[in-house]
Amino acid sequence: MDEKTFSEAVALLSGEHSLPILRYLGSGEWRIASDVSRALDIHTTTASKFLAGMHGLGFLERRVRKSRTRSALEYRMMGSRITLDLELSDGPTPLKEALDYYLDYVSTVLEKTRRLGWPGIDGKLEARLEKNRNGLKENLFTRILDGGGARGMEDLRALFRDISQEFLAITSEAMGRATALRLLSGAAEEARKGRESLVDRYDLRSILGA
């Protein structure tokens, strides 16, 4: 993570109730703020702020729990361990530029499949882009608006790794794995042109299987 995210994480984790809350969540079960509040005898607002903050930093998963009368956000730990990984490289993480690379990659794949002439593949690929990936896209674009950060770069890579794997599966089924790899690899290479240092430094291409 970058320095900004690291500072936010340290501030949040150094709070009076942070460790008891994390231990409570350590079971891995989904909890809402009022569960935490009741279990630890703390104010619901305190629990709610901590949970939202931890989710924003990427340490907790979040989903909506609906009941007949109201909806509430519930959270759970993404694992039994929390790691703070500080990136001390110079400058802010160029998340938007990295996103531009991946978007160019996707549009080049679509263009190539259209030009290749295999019927219906581009439509199938486009459908996969619209798929909801457990809120990953939503989180990612929120991070980009917030100014990015190393965590955002990880989300970005995870999102496009997922998309690229699905692209490979769809194209392989129609035209064979070697042709599909060649097509995707060609698209990754074309998108890299003009931004080689960014792509290589942040290892953006390797997750595309290219």
């Binding site: 190539k112 030009r115 290749l116 002439g117 295999w118 019927p119 392989s172 089924e173 129609a174 035209m175 064979g176 794995r177 070697a178 042709t179 060649r182 097509l183 690899s185 060609g186 698209a187 290479e189 074309e190």
Partner: protein, 236 residues
Amino acid sequence: MSDRLPTGIEGFDLLVQGGFPARSVSLVAGPAGGGKSLFALHFCHAGARRYNEPSMYVVLEEAKESLQRVMQMFGMDFGDLEKADRFLLIDLGELRVSGSQGSPIGFRELQDFLASSLKTAHVRRLVIDSLSAIGLHYGSAAEYRERLFAFCRFLRGMDVTTLLIAESPDPHALTQFGVEQFLADSVVHLGLEEVKGELRRTLTVRKMRFTKHDTGKHPMHITSVGIEVAADEKVV
């Protein structure tokens, strides 16, 4: 599927007892401008339009747009056939441009592509345009021959009838590597000869396994509706 696949070029089909033998691998060779691609388009168009046999034309070198222009020029309307998945014009040259260091497609990659796509699209007629483009992938004629041999064997194992297009590099050589004609079941040569300052087109069936065929050199014309072969005339 019948044991003969007519090309839709009436004069040619008369020379070979109705068309190419089913599941055979045939070579269509000739100089640049000899009408090879147009001949192969007739084969695809007749299959898809008249016999409901899905056809695939794989372009490796020529621009897809230029082939589409040829189709329009000769009134071969593939639009509805493409929509119905009865004709597929696949531009693998697109991969050649973008492959690692822009390397050409080889037989193994092509085979991998066809192994999936022929079944998925239920293809019965296949055109590979051209072998000359694939030849660029190989360092020696021996390696090319070995791979082409394996590729032809693969094609014969599929339920598909194939035309391989090859460019004749000069008037004395049928093909670039001089081996293609030995591995194919049939060889059709489209000639372009200069006679008294004018180019004359000819068609000769030099070889066709599994059938009796005419061995004469026949006049061939390209008209507004495509290729016409004068089966009852011979060039002397």
